[in-house]
Symmetry: D2
Subunit: 364 residues, 4 copies
C-alpha cells in the first residue's frame, strides 16, 4: 500500500484499501472517437447493460455530444446590517462595470481559474453570492474557493460591515440536490444524443421504438413528475455516473447533482427510427487532482485517453471526460429502458412462468 500517495492528500488515518471490481463497456462511439468505458461497480448487470447500449449506439453510427457550459461554483453566505445594505452589495458584485475588477482579484487564485459570473440570492439581510469559474482540468472546488476568499477579502474594504458567515452558504450547491444547479448548471453541462435505427432497436434492444417512447413518457417524465423529482427525469443516470466516477478517481459524493439528467425519446424519420438524448447540467469532473492521482484510477483515465492535461488545451481533457459521462449515461438509459419495455412482454406472459430475473435485477 502506497501511503505516500494518499497521506495529506486523499485520506487520513488509513488502514488499507477497499477494492471495487472494474468492468469495461464499449466501445462507446462518441463524437467520432472510440472509448472503452471503465465502470467500478458491484451491481450485477450494470456493465453488461451499458455495453449493450454502446452496441446499439455503435450499430447506428455513434452518439454526438455538445458541451453547453463549463464553470464550477462556490457561494459564500455573508450577512449585512440590513437587507438594504445586502441589496447594495448584491448590486455592486453583479454590476457589469465591476466585473473586470472583481475578476482580476478572483483570478489570482490560480493560473487556470477564470471568473465567469456572479449570481446572487438574498434571504433578508443574508446574501448568497454564487461565483462561477472555469477551472482547467481540475474539478475546481478548491480553486473557486480560493478565488472567493480573494474577493471576500477585497470586498471588506468597501463593505466593512459585511460579516462572512461561511465560505459556503449552500447556494453553490455542493452534494445536495438543488434547483440552482439544475437551472444554472455546475461543472460541465452536456447534452448527448443518438439516432437508433429501427432494426437496431429490434435486434439489439429486443423491443420497439413505440414501446420505448411510451415508456419514457410514463416513467421518466410523468412518473418522476408525480414523484416530485428535482432533475431526476431519467431511469438510472446515477448508476453510470457513480461507476464511472469511482473508476476514474472523481468524487462520488458529487453524483447527487452530477447525475441530474432528463432523458428524452421520440420517433424520427417518419417513425422509423428512435432519437434519444440525455441532458445533464451539472457534471463535476476533473482529470487532475483528488483521486485521479491514485494508480488504478489513473489507469482508467489513461484507458479513456484523458489523464492529466493537454499542454496547449487546458480543460480539454476534463471536458472530454464530461462528454464520456454523458455518452455512457445515454448508453445506460437506452439499455435499461429497453429491458423494462421488453419486460412488459414478459409480464404479459407471466402466467407462462417465464423467468423475469434479469428484468428484476436491472430495474431502477
Amino acid at each position: 500500500m502506497d501511503y505516500q500517495a494518499i497521506l495529506g492528500q486523499c485520506c487520513e488515518m488509513p488502514v488499507g484499501y477497499v477494492q471495487l471490481p472494474v468492468g469495461v463497456a464499449g466501445p462507446l462511439i462518441l463524437d467520432g472517437r472510440e472509448y472503452h468505458v471503465p465502470l467500478a461497480t458491484t451491481e450485477g448487470c450494470l456493465v453488461a447493460s451499458v455495453n449493450r447500449g454502446c452496441r446499439a449506439i455503435a450499430a447506428s453510427g455513434g452518439a454526438i455530444s455538445v458541451l453547453l457550459r463549463d464553470a464550477m461554483s462556490r457561494a459564500p453566505a455573508v450577512k449585512l446590517p440590513s437587507a438594504k445594505r445586502a441589496a447594495e452589495l448584491k448590486a455592486f458584485v453583479e454590476a457589469p462595470a465591476n466585473f473586470e475588477l472583481l475578476a482580476s482579484v478572483f483570478n489570482r487564485c490560480s493560473r487556470f481559474g477564470r471568473l465567469q459570473d456572479i449570481h446572487c440570492a438574498l434571504a433578508g439581510r443574508n446574501l448568497y453570492m454564487r461565483f462561477t469559474c472555469i477551472t482547467g482540468d481540475a474539478m475546481g472546488m478548491n480553486m473557486v474557493s480560493k478565488g472567493v476568499e480573494n474577493v471576500l477579502g477585497y470586498l471588506r474594504n468597501d463593505f466593512p460591515d459585511m460579516d462572512i458567515i461561511s465560505i459556503s452558504g449552500n447556494y453553490c450547491s455542493d452534494k445536495k440536490p438543488t434547483a440552482v444547479n439544475w437551472i444554472e448548471g455546475r461543472g460541465k453541462s452536456v447534452v448527448c444524443e443518438a439516432t437508433i435505427k429501427r432494426d437496431v432497436v429490434q435486434k439489439v434492444l429486443k423491443t420497439t421504438t413505440e414501446k420505448l417512447v411510451e415508456l419514457n413518457i410514463i416513467k421518466n417524465l410523468a412518473g418522476s413528475a408525480v414523484a416530485g423529482a428535482l432533475g431526476g427525469f431519467n431511469a438510472h443516470a446515477s448508476n453510470i455516473v457513480t461507476a464511472l466516477f469511482i473508476a476514474t478517481g472523481q468524487d462520488p459524493a458529487q453524483n447527487v447533482e452530477s447525475s441530474q439528467c432528463i432523458t428524452m425519446l421520440e420517433t424520427v424519420n417518419d417513425g422509423d427510427d428512435l432519437h434519444i438524448s440525455v441532458t445533464m447540467p451539472s457534471i463535476e469532473v476533473g482529470t487532475i487532482g483528488g483521486g485521479t492521482c491514485l494508480a488504478s484510477q489513473a489507469a482508467c483515465l489513461n484507458l479513456l485517453g484523458v489523464k492529466g492535461s493537454i499542454h496547449d488545451l487546458p480543460g480539454a481533457n476534463a471536458q472530454r471526460l464530461a462528454t464520456i459521462v454523458a455518452g455512457s449515461v445515454l448508453a445506460g438509459e437506452l439499455s435499461l429502458l429497453a429491458a423494462l419495455a421488453a419486460g412488459q412482454l414478459v409480464k404479459s406472459h407471466m402466467e407462462y412462468n417465464r423467468s423475469s430475473k434479469d428484468i428484476t435485477k436491472a430495474a431502477s
Copy 2:
C-alpha cells in the same frame, strides 16, 4: 483477483479492481456502543473531520439514534383503459380489506420480505403503485421487485385490462432525488442526536454554540431554501454516506436519496450546550448481498460488527448499519460546521494574511 466472487454477481467484463483508501474515524459512541467507522474516500480532510466530530460527541456522552421506519419500495407503472378504471385499481389495492390477500401474494418473494403498505399515485390513466416491504438484512430492491411481480401477476386476474408499462415507474424512487422518498421514506428512516457541552464546543470544535446555531440557520436552512433544495438541508451528508457506503459494500449510486438529510442545531440547557440532530428518511443499506460479499467490504462490516445476519434477529444488522450511517453523518456535520464557523474568524482577520487552507478544503 478473485473473479469467482464477482462474476455473475457484481460486475461483468471485469478487467481488474480500482482501489480506494479507507480511513477509520472514531470511536463513534452511539446508543452506548463504540464504533470504528471505515470511510473509503479520496477527499482530503474528510476522515479527520468526521474523527473530530466523533471526539466531540464522545466527550459529551455519545449520540442517540432512533430507527423511525424500515421499508424498501418499488413502484411499477401500469396503464388502464381509462382514468376511471385506474382509480378502481387504486381503490382495490389500497383497500384495507384487500391488504392481507395482497400481502400473502407479495410475501412469496422471500422468507424475509413482508409487505408493509401500498401507496398509489395517478397521472390520468397511468397508475403508480408504491409497494413498501421490510427486507431483513438485505437492502431489498430485488426482494421487493419480486414481490411486486407476484402481485402484478395476481392483479391481472381481476384487471385483465391492466397494461404493465414498467416494473419501475420512477415513483419508487431509486437513485433519483424525489419528494416521495423525502416525505414517505425509503429503506431506513433514522434520526440521530447529541448534546454537545459548551466547553467541548470551545475546546474540541474551536468555536461557539451561538456561531454554530446561526451558521446552521443561514447555510443549512435558509441557504438551501433559496437554492431550491429537495431534502438537502445539510452541510455534507453525502460525503459521509458515500464514503461509508463504498467501504461497506453498499450501492453508492443510492447516495442520491440516502444522503437526504435535515440538520438542526439549537442551544439547550439555558444556552449552555448545543443540541444537534440529523434526520435522514431514506438510508438504503444491507449487510448481506451485493458488494457486502467482497473481501475488503466484508472486513469493514466486520469492523463495525454488523456483517451478515443475526440468526434470531433478521434485519437487526442492517438497521444498526443505518444508525451508524446517521451517527457518522452527525459527526461529520458537527465538525464541518465548526470548521466553517471558525473560518468566519479567519475571514475577519484575512487582512492579517492567516492561512485559510484547511477551511477551503473542508468546505461543502
Copy 3:
C-alpha cells in the same frame, strides 16, 4: 352594501366592494350532468377558451371524473426534549392501536369532522403531525384545526414535556407550494378525463391530435421538468381554478396548491382520437361557510346546483364542486393547448404577416 353579511365573518374595516365580472362557460358535460360554469376573471379570452373546451368535450360525449380522496389537513409543530422523545410521540400517534382513541378526541370538533389519518415528519426533536379529516361540505380548515387542538390537549396528559410551537407547522401545507400536498393530497383529490374525437379536434380545436400530444410532452412534461416545477405540469390550471374559486366564494389564496395538476394527452383508438386527463390532488373547496354566504357567490353556487349541503349526503356538494373544478380545468387545458398548437402554424407563416394576437393573449 350588506355589512352584516361580512362583519365578523369575512372582512374587517370594510370600505366597500370590488367587483369582478363573471362569465359563464359551458355547458360542461361531466359525469352525465350539464354545468354552466361561472368564472370571475379579468383576463381576456379565458371564458371563451374554457367555453371552447367545453364544446369539444360535449361534442365527444362528455367528461368523466373520479374523486380519489377527500381529507383536509392541519399539521401542528411540537417540540420535545429530545429526538428520541419526539420519535416516541410519533410512534404513539401513528400506532393503529391508538387511532380509535385519538379519533374520538379529534371528532368532538364537529358533527361532520372525521379523522382519517395522522402522518408525521420529524426534524430532530421537532415533530410535525399531519392530521387529515373529512369535513362535510365545509372546506374544513377551521374544523380540522379544532380537532387538532382537541388532540393536542389530550396528548399533553401522556406527553407533558411536549411544547406546542404552533397549531400550524407548515407541514399542512396551507397556501404554499409543497411536495407533501402533491404526494399526499389536501382537500379533494380528483382525476378527470375525456376522449375527444378526431374530427372534433380538427373542427372545434383547429389542430390535430398528433400536435396536441407532442405539445403536451414538450411543454407540460419536459418544459415543466426543466423549469423545476412542483406539481405544475399543466398549461394554465391556475387560471380556471382561480376564476371558479372567486366566483363561488372559495379562498383564492388556496389556488397555490389547488391548482397543482398534471395534464396528460395521448392518442387512443388506433391513433384516431385524443385522450386527455387532468389529475389534481389538492382541490380545497366548500359549499358552506366563508365566502359562499355572500349573495353573488351563492348565486354562482346555485347556478352549479351545489349550494349548501344536501341533508342526507353531507359532503356531496363540496365533492361535486371539486369535480367541476377538475372538469373545467380539463376544458381549459384542452382549449389553450389547441390554441398554442395551432399557433405553431401561425408562426410558420409569420413572414406572411398573419395576426397572432389571440395566441399571444391566450398563452400561459
Copy 4:
C-alpha cells in the same frame, strides 16, 4: 353593469359581477410613505391581522424595501433537428455579441418593452429560451410575448430548421410553482424589512422576540423544508398577495409564483429588538391594463397613489405597487406569527378552557 369596460378586454359571455368585500389595513409606513392597503378577501381576521402588523411596523419607525430586479419573462419552446443544432441556437441567442441585434428586434413590441436577458435550457433537441424584459407599468405578459414573436420570426432566417412548438414552453413560468422563477425571479423581485422594538413586540404583538424567532425557524424554515416546499418558506404570504391582487385588478391566478417568499426573523441590537424580512422574487403586478381599468379596482389603486403611469417615470408606479405588496406581506407575516406564538401560551393553558378561536381562524 358597464359591459363596455369588460367586453373584448376582461371577460366574455358576462352574466354579471361577483362582489368581494374590501377592507383597509394600515397605514403601512414603507420607505417613508404612508399607505392605506386595500385587501379584497372573505377570510375573517385577515384585514385585522395585517392591520396589527402595520401598527407594529409603524410604532417601530416603518419598513424599508428594495427593488432587486424588474423583468417579466416568456419562454417559447422550439424544436431543432438535433440537440447539436439546438445547442447552436442556444449559443447564438446567448452570445453577448448578438444581444444588441436581438434586442432591437424584440423591442419593436412596445414603446416600453426593453429586452434584458435571454437564458436558455435544453431538453435534448428542444430548446426553451427564457426572454426577460422590462415592461413599464404593465404587468407585461402580452408585451414580452409580442417581443418573443418578433425574435422567433427573425431567428427563422438563420435557423430555418427551427420548429416553433409553443410561444410558451413552461420555462417562463406563468402560474405554475417552479424553481426557475424562485431562482431567476419573474416580474419584480423585492426584499422588505423592519426592525421591531422589543416593547412593541410585547405590547402590540403580545409575544416575545425569542418566541417569534424560534417559531420562524421551526415553522417557516424547517417545517417547510420537511414539507418539500418550493419557495414557500413563509406563514401566509399568499393570503396578502391574493387579497391585494384582487383589490387592485391584478391577475390573482399569478399568486402561485407571486407569493413565493422566504420570511426571516432574528434578534438584533443585543437581543433587544426583532429584525424581520420578506424576500419575494416573483411579484407580477401592473398599474395599467387588465383588471386595473375596472372602476373599483382603479379606486383601490388610487387609494395607494399608484394608478396608471407617471409620465416621466414609466414603470415607477408598478414598481411601487410591488414594494407595497412586499410591505403588506411583511405586516401579515409579523402578525400571524405573533398570533401563533402567543397561541403557544394559550395551548399550554388549554386545560383551563380558554378560548383559542382566534388563533384557529388565523392559522395558515
